[in-house]
Amino acid sequence: MEINAVINGEKVKVTCHPNKRLIDFLREDMGIISVKEGCGEGECGACTVLLDGKAVTSCTILTGQIDGCEIMTVEGLDKIGELEPITESFVRNGAVQCGYCTPGMVISTKALLNANPNPTEEEIKIAIEGNLCRCTGYNKIENAIKDLKVKES
């Protein structure tokens, strides 16, 4: 089917099988490699993207579902200059080790801060509850998000 969508700020018109998983469409057809696969069933959050501003796991969404929608990944946030403060905070706080879960974690962070610029500790934890990280124990990721909150408030 023909898909009309806005991906990372650019209008895209492509023909794609509607049953193709969104993660595969983004990686294979769009070359967006920040979207990582970890479980393929929506449990680990490594493939999280913004779908019309909300964080969703792209392995459980079919490409047909994004017709007429807006998709944002870290590449897109970078392009519009919204990634740099997050990058700076994640790096400074030591929130990144192997880095494989990181882009998904950043997308969940962005979804949270868009909706709630001043989240509590509890709200931060809940925002990333769907993003598994085996390296950090989440502590430093939560610190990185907290630092962003202070800056934005």
């Binding site: 595969d24 294979e28 967006i32 490699i33 920040s34 979207v35 990582k36 696969e37 970890g38 479980c39 393929g40 069933e41 449990e43 680990c44 490594a46 990944t73 870290v74 590449e75 970078d78 990634l83 997050i86 990058t87 994640f90 790096v91 400074r92 706080n93 030591g94 990144v96 080790q97 192997c98 880095g99 494989y100 879960c101 990181t102 882009p103 950043v106 509890e122 931060i124 934890k125 809940i126 990333i128 509850e129 769907g130 993003n131 598994l132 990280c133 085996r134 390296c135 950090t136 124990g137 989440y138 502590n139 430093k140 990721i141 939560e142």
Partner: protein
């Protein structure tokens, strides 16, 4: 006396993490090659079966290039755990298997022009399983009615001892007996196993692998495929977590085979269910422990018997049992002690290295037993541990421990206990914790100690080579076989070299392991050896380089070496000219015909112990059996922290793994050997809301043999938080749960048993 360091201990920022946030870092699954093919593994649905595969229909699928089964691959057995060619071991694995020995065993590879074609081909394979009797669990294994390999399912057995336990137990006033178990644990690196193999323009095989030991991958691939070692190039890629799970080659031999056979690049990326079922796991254990104590609370004798579920292949059957056992002799002063370890084959995922290598299992049960011993004589569990803990060993090169292994070094376990209990407010919490109890919620506190090592010295070859050079542009090039597993190993090395040479760590490049460009390293990034051994080697090489730089400067400027100083990338004589290290390198080449470069083969000088103690407070819901960890303090005897941010990251992440083992993580099989926990919906990792804040405390008293006093951190970090949580649960409920994990079901069962 504390030395003031310029870079050691500082929170220097990593240089690789910004690109990881931006999603620019390429993992193997993100790499592409012109003409690249995609491989999909067929893994066994059955736990034990002779497999026959009809490829005909699969080969007719458009885009399927090849299907390989056992019949197509070399019939050379290997043991994937063998990390250096001289390690004696039996060999029972093949590139692809004809007899599947566990669900998830690799039995065929479909190679396609696209991932979809390979997937379609996989679905068209006609697989016939001629099922064999299945061995699941220790009881079945011991019956030996079905033998998985060799003549018995007993894959390994050995005892270690000091003194004579019968005499020790005779002196005991009380003997405390406990039994317990620990589950198979999935490493849960979020990046699944992956590999890319290709042939370079000179006909060399190039294997791109997120691995821990490039020279092991080279050895296994060359041996299994019968190709020259020198034409087998293994390059360590960015890794999306390992924790031991990617330490043993799984995909590399079959991926390399396909690339050679088809003379095209081949990429294989596993799915989660295959990563759980078809790679490696932490070995499950069942344990029995008897500890003899005097009424004053001194441990006089201990006997530990631990059995290990080795899974379907030999892999680490010996190594895990020995690594577990040796540590039992390095935490408490016990004159008469005996350990027996036995590893059994079962038709389950094979065992392999997993963060802590035996230590998490040992301390899981023995630290519950220690608590029960303290309770038996009415002693506080912290005080009981302080009374019995080992003391620092006087520094003598070549010192030994109670069983003849390398000495324990500057063992600061007592400092961990004393300073940790103060920081946790143990004495106060002990009095007040139960006052929070309600009908529904019970509160408790727990402590647990643990010990780990620093490499292989004393057991296996533990040496490395360093090539360090000053470049003309005032930068430093360090070539050594290191693998950053995400922990920040590269930065650790940069900071060590920076300290030795007095130059900004960012001016030092430490590329990761590549068998064509890195000098040989005997054991890779495993066994908690990198900071201590590779870091020790780098410091020594950098010190030698510094000497050479000073000598060269003295010759060039005709001055004495005494008053030459090196600061911030500049070398100069107090009365003479100051030049950059780069300018010195140019002058040395031009006028002295020498490169400012050192090549050093460095043998590890020891294997000191490292210690940790965790303190935990939990809130247990007696209605649901759910546990909340409300406070966790992890104390580590770190010698000297190289980078505080990295060290904290290790301890916090280690706590995640250890608390997971205590509360929710468990690979489960049914009696037919079907995997019940094939993905994260069934295998429960702790997520952010359930993860406590981890308070960290580092005891930094310096290890004489370590670079700048440093010793290992990362593996030990995954040892004590779990047992501390378990002891806290038992404190809260008055139970003696010693089977991990303490799931809600187990807690409810223990409570109802107590009531009846």
């Amino acid at each position: 006396m504390k030395t003031e360091f310029q870079y050691i201990g500082k929170r220097v920022e990593r240089q690789d993490t910004a690109d990881k946030v931006r999603g620019k870092t390429k993992y193997v699954g993100d790499m592409t090659r012109a003409d690249m093919l995609y491989g999909k593994l067929l893994t066994s649905d059955k736990a034990h079966a002779k497999v026959t595969i009809d490829k005909t229909k699969a080969m007719m699928i458009k885009g399927v290039v090849a299907v390989f089964t056992n019949e197509d691959v070399p019939q050379t057995p290997y043991n994937s755990n063998q990390w250096f060619p001289g390690a004696a071991t039996a060999e029972d694995e093949y590139v692809l298997h004809k007899i599947a020995k566990h669900v998830g065993d690799r039995i065929a590879l479909v190679v396609g022009e696209t991932p979809e074609a390979a997937e379609k081909g996989l679905n068209e394979l006609v697989v016939f399983y001629d099922e064999l009797p299945v061995v699941i669990g220790f009881e079945e294994a011991k019956k030996n009615e079905t033998v998985i390999f060799g003549t018995s399912n007993l894959a390994f057995e050995k005892s270690l001892a000091c003194g004579e336990i019968s005499e020790g137990f005779d002196r005991a006033d009380i003997i405390i007996e406990d039994s317990g178990s620990t589950p198979k644990v999935h490493h849960s690196a979020i990046e699944n196993h992956s590999c890319l193999a290709e042939i370079d323009p000179f006909g060399n095989l190039v294997v791109w692998s997120p691995c821990q030991v490039v020279f092991q991958v080279q050895h296994i691939v060359a041996k299994a495929l019968g190709i020259p070692y020198d034409k087998t190039r293994v390059i360590k890629t960015t890794i999306g977590g390992s924790f031991g799970g990617k330490g043993i080659p799984i995909l590399e031999p079959v991926c390399a085979f396909a690339a050679i056979k088809l003379n095209r690049p081949v990429q294989i990326v596993m799915e989660r269910k295959d990563s759980v079922a078809g790679t490696r796991s932490r070995n499950a254990t069942i344990q029995k422990i008897r500890t003899g104590i005097t009424k004053e609370g001194r441990i006089v004798a201990r006997e530990i018997v631990s059995e290990f579920d080795g899974g379907a292949y030999l892999t680490n059957a010996a190594a895990v049992a020995m690594a577990f056992g040796k540590k039992a002799f390095r935490l408490y002063k016990i004159k008469d002690q005996k350990y027996t370890g036995r590893t059994y084959f079962t038709n389950t995922v094979p065992g392999g290295a997993c963060r802590g290598y035996g230590s998490p299992q040992l301390h899981a049960v023995s630290e519950i037993n220690i608590n029960n011993a303290a309770k038996a004589v009415g002693m506080d569990p912290v005080q009981f541990r302080i009374l019995n803990a080992v003391d620092p060993q006087e520094f003598i090169l070549g010192a030994k421990d109670d069983i003849g292994m390398p000495g324990i070094g500057n063992a600061r376990i007592k400092d961990c206990l004393i300073q940790g209990s103060e920081a946790f407010d143990w004495e106060n919490k002990k009095i007040t914790v139960s006052s929070k109890n309600t009908n529904r919620f019970a509160y408790g506190i727990g402590v647990a100690a643990g010990v780990h090592g620093n490499g292989y010295h004393g057991g296996f070859p533990d040496y490395t080579n360093v090539d360090i050079q000053v470049m003309p542009d005032n930068r430093i090039m360090v070539k050594m076989g290191i693998h950053d597993l995400g922990c920040g190993t590269v930065l650790t090395m940069q900071q060590i070299a920076a300290e030795a040479l007095s130059i900004n760590p960012k001016s030092i490049n430490v590329p990761q392991a590549d068998t064509f460009t890195s000098p040989y390293d005997s054991a890779g990034t495993q066994a908690s050896r990198v900071t201590f051994v590779n870091g020790g080697a780098l410091k020594e090489a950098a010190d030698l380089l510094k000497e050479k730089m000073i000598t060269s400067y003295a010759k060039l400027f005709n001055c004495s070496v005494d008053a030459i100083s090196m600061i911030d990338g500049t070398i100069g004589h107090e009365e003479g000219k100051k030049i950059s290290y780069g300018e010195l390198a140019i002058l040395s080449e031009a006028k002295l015909e020498t490169t400012l470069k050192i090549y050093l083969e460095y043998k590890s000088k020891g294997n000191p112990a490292v210690y940790a103690v965790s303190f935990a407070e939990v809130k247990v819901d007696k209605y649901t059996g759910l546990v909340e960890v409300i406070d966790l303090l992890a104390v580590q005897d770190a010698g000297q922290v190289i980078n505080m941010t990295l060290a904290e990251g290790q301890v916090e992440g280690g706590a995640h793994m250890s608390v997971g083992m205590a509360l929710s993580e468990e690979i489960k099989y049914d009696k037919q050997g079907n995997l019940k926990t094939e993905n994260f919906s069934k295998y429960h990792l702790i997520n952010a809301p359930s993860m406590p804040k981890v308070r960290t405390l580092f005891i930094q008293d310096g290890e004489p043999l370590g670079p700048y006093g440093a010793k290992s951190i990362g593996e030990l970090a995954a040892v004590t938080p779990g047992p501390a949580v378990m002891n806290a649960i038992n404190d809260a409920l008055g139970t003696n749960i010693s089977d991990y994990p303490a799931t809600p079901e187990r807690i409810i069962e223990a409570l109802s048993r107590m009531r009846s």
